[in-house]
């Protein structure tokens, strides 16, 4: 396990959890989770379905009580001071929990009123958030007519009505198309960078945790199996995969030898595709130079982020398997947005194309 990198020593932790355990009958959803999230940072819980990510969020947001262990959120015990914790946090669940029968405006108005805003203040806040989240034009349409991306934005807006100091985002981009996902990332960056909000997010995508989180904890079967900065985690797991296909198959032995030497590991060969996990992206230009010098034509060459599966394999020696509590079925209305499922690795942006 990687040592925790503390890069915000001057802040007190926004979230501290110690030995959290939660069981559902014979199923152990959390098997002793410890975590510390410094104020003003983004903490990513990375893991497959059923790893216990959502359970951890539900405990920290006071929706459920842990069977054992203790957690402080904003300095308050989630078990004994839930009402105070709820005054500090916002929660956006995995499946957009907006009231489908109400319009976007009414959803936000209701929450403003519940939070004690006057009618006019609640209306003003609702309008402001609807504009910020590009929902102003659909403000007076029932939320059931919204696309998946719009619902997700409304759900996030709903959790921001009370200007929370801490935000829990449970798989904020699962089911979103790449454009909506990038928008969501920008919103999170703005909340943290511009407003000092502390964010705890769960995700199944290494890419997302890498993009947003200051610290990442990898969760498997209710336990944190690795913990550290994205850089440290990538260094440990070989977070990128280099793949090359020679233009001419007769060059295969030469290519395999070059990849083996530069990556320092024995490459996998599938058909004419040679691939290896690498920790240093500089391997890519080095390989290009090497093959060019040798006069070997390159058919295809890519450097992409390793998938969660590959990270799991590196950390545990077994691929990520869905735990006992697999995800709820997506509600049928989620398909109205016409957005592709994001489980398709092709939908992820290859690391090589990023700045």
């Amino acid at each position: 396990m990687i040592d925790m990198t503390v890069r915000h020593e001057h802040f007190s932790p926004a979230i501290v959890a110690e030995g959290l355990v939660k069981r559902y009958g014979a199923t152990t959803a959390l098997a002793g989770v410890d975590l510390t999230v410094p104020a003003g940072t983004v903490f990513g819980l990375l893991g497959p379905n059923g790893a216990g990510k959502t359970t951890a969020v539900r405990v920290l947001a006071t929706l459920i009580q842990p069977d054992a262990g203790r957690a402080l959120v904003g300095g308050y015990d989630v078990r004994h001071d839930g009402h105070r914790v709820r005054q500090l946090v916002g929660l956006t669940g995995q499946y957009a929990s907006v009231d489908e029968m109400l319009t976007g405006h009414e959803n936000l108005l209701m929450i403003g009123r519940l939070l004690g805003l006057s009618r006019s203040a609640a209306k003003a806040r609702a309008r402001e958030l609807l504009a910020d989240f590009r929902l102003a034009e659909s403000a007076d349409r029932p939320a059931r007519a919204y696309s998946g991306g719009m619902r997700r934005r409304l759900d996030l807006a709903a959790s921001l009505v009370g200007r929370p100091r801490l935000l829990f985002l449970d798989e904020p981009t699962t089911g979103l198309d790449p454009r909506s996902r990038n928008e969501m990332w920008d919103v999170v960056r703005d909340l943290v960078g511009g407003h000092g909000v502390t964010v705890l997010l769960t995700t199944q995508y290494l890419e997302e945790a890498d993009q947003l989180a200051d610290d990442i904890a990898v969760v498997d079967h209710g336990r944190i199996i690795a913990h550290g900065s994205p850089e440290a985690l990538k260094k440990q797991t070989g977070a990128q995969t280099l793949a090359v296909r020679p233009g001419d198959v007769t060059d295969m032995p030469l290519v395999v030898a070059a990849v083996a030497e530069l990556a320092g590991v024995a490459p996998e060969v599938a058909g004419s595709l040679v691939s290896a996990r690498v920790t240093d992206p500089a391997v890519l230009p080095a390989l290009v130079r090497r093959l060019d010098d040798a006069g070997v034509p390159i058919g295809e060459i890519t450097l992409r982020s390793s998938s969660l599966d590959e990270v799991f394999l590196a950390l545990t020696g077994h691929p990520a398997t869905d735990g006992p509590t697999s995800a709820k079925p997506t509600s049928p209305t989620d398909v109205t947005g016409g957005e592709p499922a994001v489980d398709d690795p092709a939908a992820r942006i290859p690391a090589a194309t990023r700045s």
Binding site: F11, S12, P13, V16, E18, T36, A39, R58, A61, T62, L63, Q65, P66, D67, A68, G69, R70, L72, G74, G75, Y76, D77, R79, H80, D81, H83, R84, R86, Q87, L88, V89, G90, L91, G93, Y95, A96, S97, V98, D99, E100, M101, L102, T103, E106, M110, I111, R113, L114, L115, G116, P142, D155, A158, S159, G162, R165, S331
Partner: protein, 279 residues
């Protein structure tokens, strides 16, 4: 009592001060405000969902027209006589069926994740339940008013007085409030809203029809009369009839109130426990 004792003092490493926030509890006045806001939310839903309006306004009116003009002549010899007899019964029947909406609404909130959102907010824990019940009682009063209004147009006249008529509405709503705890309990136990309806129809259909809500008890076979006489719907229909038209009031009203108290005493604690367990 939790098996885990809270550790004394701060967790090691937590040196910072807690974030400044408001009080540790919700004040009763705030709890009422939260309940009112959530009741508003349930009523506003109707605006965007005309089918629901149809459900709790048009359906009872259809029943009223159907019973009066299709069965009325056959049962009472004249539609006017039958309307006078049956309208109180239809009010009772409709009110009991409408209690199912409380369970389906709660179950929908549960399965759609709306409760997660509400419970993450610093509001009274009872407000989502109380707000739903308050809104549903408002709908009940609306439906009773519609039935009395259409009844008036068709020739039904309150033969007692305005106070008795108000008492009739109050009694029916009070009974519905008690009965809705069954609906809440079922709503908390089943996996999807439709199952509340299936359960409700299975229970409420025989209860309302095997009563004297629509026909005189004396027209039924003896073994069935035995059930009709102990059926709480009979007591409620008799009392409503007595308060709106004529007939005994005190005895059936007491029976109905006792039943209501009994239902609430048994099902309210069960429903609240199920609510706390599920949300």
């Amino acid at each position: 009592m939790s098996a885990v004792t809270a550790l004394p003092g701060p967790i090691p490493g937590t040196t910072g001060h807690p974030e400044p926030v408001g009080s540790a509890r919700v004040s009763p006045l705030d709890a009422l405000r939260h309940t009112a806001t959530l009741a508003w939310r349930t009523l506003v839903q109707v605006k965007h969902n005309p089918m629901e309006l149809l459900d709790f306004s048009v359906q009872p009116l259809m029943f009223l027209l159907l019973f009066t003009y299709v069965f009325g002549g056959a049962i009472s010899g004249s539609t006017g006589d039958y309307l006078t007899f049956a309208l109180p019964g239809i009010i009772v029947q409709n009110t009991l069926f409408t209690t199912l909406n409380t369970g389906t609404g709660l179950n929908t909130d549960l399965t759609k994740g709306v409760f997660d959102r509400l419970r993450s907010l610093p509001i009274a824990r009872s407000a989502p339940l109380a707000g739903r019940i308050l809104a549903d009682m408002t709908k009940q009063i609306w439906a009773i008013a519609m039935l009395l209004g259409l009844g008036y147009i068709l020739g039904f006249r309150v033969q007692t007085g305005p106070l008795q008529a108000l008492a009739a509405c109050g009694l029916v709503v009070l009974f519905a409030l008690a009965a809705s705890w069954i609906s809440v309990l079922v709503g908390m136990l089943v996996s999807e809203p439709e199952k509340v309806m299936i359960f409700g129809f299975t229970l409420i259909f025989p209860l309302t029809f095997v009563s004297n809500a629509f026909v005189q008890t004396t027209t039924m076979p003896g073994w069935l009369q035995a059930f009709v006489k102990v059926n709480p719907v009979t007591a409620l229909a008799d009392a409503t009839r007595g308060l709106l038209v004529s007939g005994p009031v005190w005895t059936p009203a007491w029976h109905a109130l006792l039943w209501a108290a009994g239902l609430a005493a048994v099902f309210a604690p069960l429903a609240v426990a199920a609510f706390k367990r599920r949300v």
